[in-house]
């Protein structure tokens, strides 16, 4: 078997920030050749900024260094296993070069604000002229059509406009957003399969396709049952804290130590009975009070107190092990350091140590799936800005040395953010 699952696939990547880059990172880890097109004039936001105080970078030990744009952890995680070529797409020769690369690529994927590729002259119709069976995937906030197509967003505001925030929040409290930017990874996971479904279609029909993904729509698809509750019962959901609609008790309870918590879900009367034994609810009257799931829902607050009294002096990992031995779904709310040291993730090789010439060696995330025969891995560290411009122009676009230096002189391939 070939060592890499996606050997032979070439992706021309004009995406930025999170969703697109993470999709192409996964494709790259799995064996696709990914060419990331970057601009020194408008760098990918996670590279940080020329002035690192203004940027969104997370730098090793908080030190931006001389070239912060090559040291940002956010960028370096999301962009490994790729080549980086700098091309200024606002310049006609940048666009022409992009088309030469598109002609040699299976897929073009982009995440500019809706309308920007049009201004560059790089629509699906334009690209189809250079390669008839090209596949093009556009990732945008709201999709390429509709009255809100040009609206800006971030992951946090998309959680709001897609519906998921309306049911996130403490019981009786205001709706809120997650501690990350969920719509971005959701779209990144989905678009890996979308790219490959388009390849499968091309294999069968010989034809390419244009795919218009709206991050907002993707996110709403993750709360389908919330929408169904409205269309079936005219009920709009509200935040319900950490509780479950059916199972009780479910909650997040304090354990010994600073900011240490255990998540517990009790899923049946049988589980409840063992759980009550373990936490010392032995009194007949008390047992009676919580005997069925309805009683446990009705007295959830009281029950939460009893559970917290039991967990509070105990170590979270001890609680997890005790409850898991009784077949109860309990998990420690892991902090970052605990995730990095988690023995289960370690044994599964979840973290991949990546050595980067300017950022040093750090553990990075692997992938959300594991293939038994071709698991994939980090193939190379994230590229320095424009690290492979010449190689890509020469070997893939087929430009001569003279043509390459002309582009350089015109500034089209500049990789110096301080010079532009």
């Amino acid at each position: 078997m070939a060592t890499m699952a996606l050997e032979g696939l070439r992706i021309l990547d004009a995406t930025q920030v999170w969703a697109g880059p993470t999709c192409t990172k996964i494709l790259g880890d799995m064996g696709a050749e990914v060419i990331k097109i970057e601009s020194a004039r408008r760098m990918d936001i996670p590279r940080g900024d020329i002035d690192p105080r203004l940027g969104a970078g997370i730098f090793p030990d908080g030190e931006p260094g001389e070239e912060p744009w090559n040291r940002s952890g956010l960028y370096n995680d999301r962009n490994r296993s790729k080549l980086s070529a700098c091309l200024d797409l606002t310049h006609p020769k940048g666009v022409a070069t992009f088309k030469l690369l598109a002609a040699k690529s299976d897929v073009v994927i982009e995440s500019f604000r809706s309308g920007v590729m049009e201004r560059f002259g790089l629509t699906y119709a334009d690209l189809k002229q250079v390669r008839n069976d090209i596949i093009m995937v556009s990732l945008s906030s709201q999709g390429g059509t509709g009255p809100e197509r040009a609206y800006g967003s971030f992951g946090a505001t998309l959680e709001q406009t897609a519906g998921i925030a309306s049911i996130t929040g403490y019981l009786g409290g205001d709706p809120t957003t997650s501690g990350t930017f969920l719509p971005d990874p959701m779209v990144s996971f989905l678009s890996v399969g979308v790219v490959l479904a388009a390849i499968e279609q091309r294999r069968r029909t010989g034809e390419g396709v244009y795919i218009d993904l709206s991050q907002r729509e993707v996110t709403t698809s993750m709360v389908g049952e919330m929408v169904m509750d409205y269309t079936m019962n005219e009920r709009t959901g509200i935040p319900t804290g950490n509780r479950d609609a059916v199972h009780a008790p479910q909650g997040v309870y304090p354990c010994a130590g600073d900011d240490s918590w255990i998540a517990i879900t009790v899923r049946s009367d049988a589980e409840w009975s063992s759980f009550a034994d373990l936490i010392g609810i032995t009194d007949d009257a008390q047992r009676e009070q919580f005997t069925g799931v309805i009683e446990r829902h009705n007295h959830h607050g009281e029950l939460d107190q009893l559970i917290a009294d039991w967990t509070r002096p105990r170590d979270a990992f001890d609680v997890m092990k005790i409850l898991q031995r009784a077949g109860i779904a309990a998990g420690v709310s892991l902090r970052g350091d605990q995730l990095l040291q988690d023995p289960h993730l370690a044994e599964r090789g979840f973290w991949e140590n990546v050595e980067h010439p300017q950022a040093g060696t750090h553990p990075h995330l692997s992938r959300p799936f594991k293939l038994s025969k071709q698991p994939g891995s980090t193939r190379m560290h994230a590229p320095l800005l424009g690290q492979h411009t010449e190689q890509v122009l020469r070997e893939i676009a087929g430009l001569s040395a003279a043509e390459i230096s002309e582009l350089k002189e015109l500034g089209v391939t500049s990789n110096d953010p301080t010079a532009v």
């Binding site: 696939l9 399969g193 499968e200 729509e217 698809s221 950490n242 997040v252 998540a263 902090r335 990095l340």
Partner: protein, 399 residues
């Protein structure tokens, strides 16, 4: 009736055959994505009881009926349903025939269960080397926690998203809905497609292992990375897009430096543009309590949709908290025809979220979710079981 008026398999994944042995959310969501792209998906349900999600709310008119669960109806569009008892050896024999039929098999049993039924990946590989098996579980097929029980909440906890969501002075907060399971479904869909690409090249299938906990950990990203690069844990703090109460709901604000002046003018507070307490990201954080007080007072007089559109028109990426009704009424969603209507023999005509997969020339779910065992006849006939044999299988409660 389902399956008669529809040409099955119209779409990019026409000809792809998927056997879905999974239940709940993650596996069925993955196969919903496949079926919405035209794959022929047969979902296998336990006789009598059916898929676990059939007994999960919301229910039409709050009636807990197996054909009225909004969760099941949503997750199983464009699929066929058969009943089959995998616990019986006779059921396992039928499963092996279905595995030979399938390009992709999806399952969500506890790790090790398939081996007890002789349909684990090694058995599948011998029987049908080109078949891909996708396993979805809480912690993955191997590793010290693989036998642990899991829930959506435990996966959010062990994947690190729980710890960074919520208020710093309260307990960690889960994200609403079933995000760990949906993320696992996305990972299973994409993992299956990677394995399919490889299979087209090599002719060989393989085993795809999806851990909901790892799907969450890869998705939230920040907590591990923060510690790896900075040596400190990310705090539970919600400063990305603080939400404010307005007259009829909530609006979220992203304070970007390039929008600060416009934002002050919109609040009719031009004096704040140069106010040193608020005019850069760092000082806004230091004086966030004062800023919140000013912004909250102004926000309380606003209307959510009007403010959202007005801010966006000036280049400010505001959001507003959309509940399900706001989504249904959204002009953007209406323009893109995101919602679809499907008619179901028991639950009737209902509006469903459509597919986010906007494919040129192909789009929406076209067929409602199947009734429990609705396709037993056609599937068991096509596997070669005569009507008389099916009577026996039914009476033995194998199907």
């Amino acid at each position: 009736m389902a399956g008669e008026t529809i040409v099955r398999g119209a779409g990019p994944l026409t000809d792809l055959r998927v056997l879905d042995l999974s239940e709940g959310v993650a596996g069925p969501f993955a196969t919903k994505l496949l079926s919405s792209l035209g794959a022929d998906v047969i979902t296998v349900e336990a006789p009598g009881r059916g898929d676990e999600s059939r007994s999960r709310p919301p229910f039409l008119a709050d009636d807990p009926h197996p054909e009225k669960s909004g969760l099941f109806l949503y997750l199983n569009t464009d699929k066929r349903s058969i009943t089959l008892d995998l616990r019986q050896p006779g059921g396992q024999a039928i499963a092996r025939k279905l595995i030979e039929w399938a390009d992709i098999v999806v399952e969500s049993f506890a790790p090790g269960q398939l081996q007890r039924w002789n349909i684990d990946y090694d058995s599948i590989e011998q029987l049908s080397p080109e078949t891909i098996l996708v396993s979805v579980s809480g912690y993955g097929q191997e590793g010290p926690y693989s036998a642990y029980e899991w829930s959506n909440l435990s996966a959010l906890a062990m994947g690190g998203l729980l710890q960074i969501t919520g208020d710093p002075d309260r307990e960690p907060l889960k994200v609403g809905g079933r995000p760990a399971e949906y993320l696992g479904g996305l990972a299973a869909f994409s993992g299956a497609m990677v394995a399919l690409y490889a299979q087209r090249a090599t002719g060989e299938g393989q085993h795809v292992d999806v851990s909901l906990t790892e799907a969450v950990a890869t998705a939230q990203m920040y907590s591990g990375l923060n510690y790896a690069y900075l040596g400190e844990n990310r705090e539970r703090v919600n400063e990305f897009a603080p939400t404010f109460r307005v007259q009829n709901g909530h609006v979220g604000v992203m304070y970007r430096q390039q929008n600060w002046a416009d934002f002050c003018r919109m609040m009719e507070r031009p004096d704040m543009i140069e106010d040193e307490r608020f005019n850069d990201m760092t000082t806004r954080r230091t004086h966030s309590a004062e800023l919140n007080e000013i912004v909250s007072a102004w926000m309380s007089t606003q209307e959510k949709r009007e403010l959202y559109h007005r801010a966006q028109a000036q280049g400010m990426p505001f959001g507003y908290i959309c509940n399900a009704r706001d989504l249904i009424e959204s002009p953007q969603y209406q323009h893109r025809e995101y919602f679809v209507e499907l008619d179901h023999p028991v639950s009737g005509r209902l509006t469903y979220p459509g597919t986010p997969l906007r494919w040129d020339g192909h789009a929406q779910p076209t067929d409602r979710a199947p009734l429990l065992g609705e396709h037993n006849g056609e599937v068991y006939n096509s596997l070669g079981y005569s009507d008389a044999e099916q009577v026996i299988l039914r009476s033995e409660q194998i199907i």
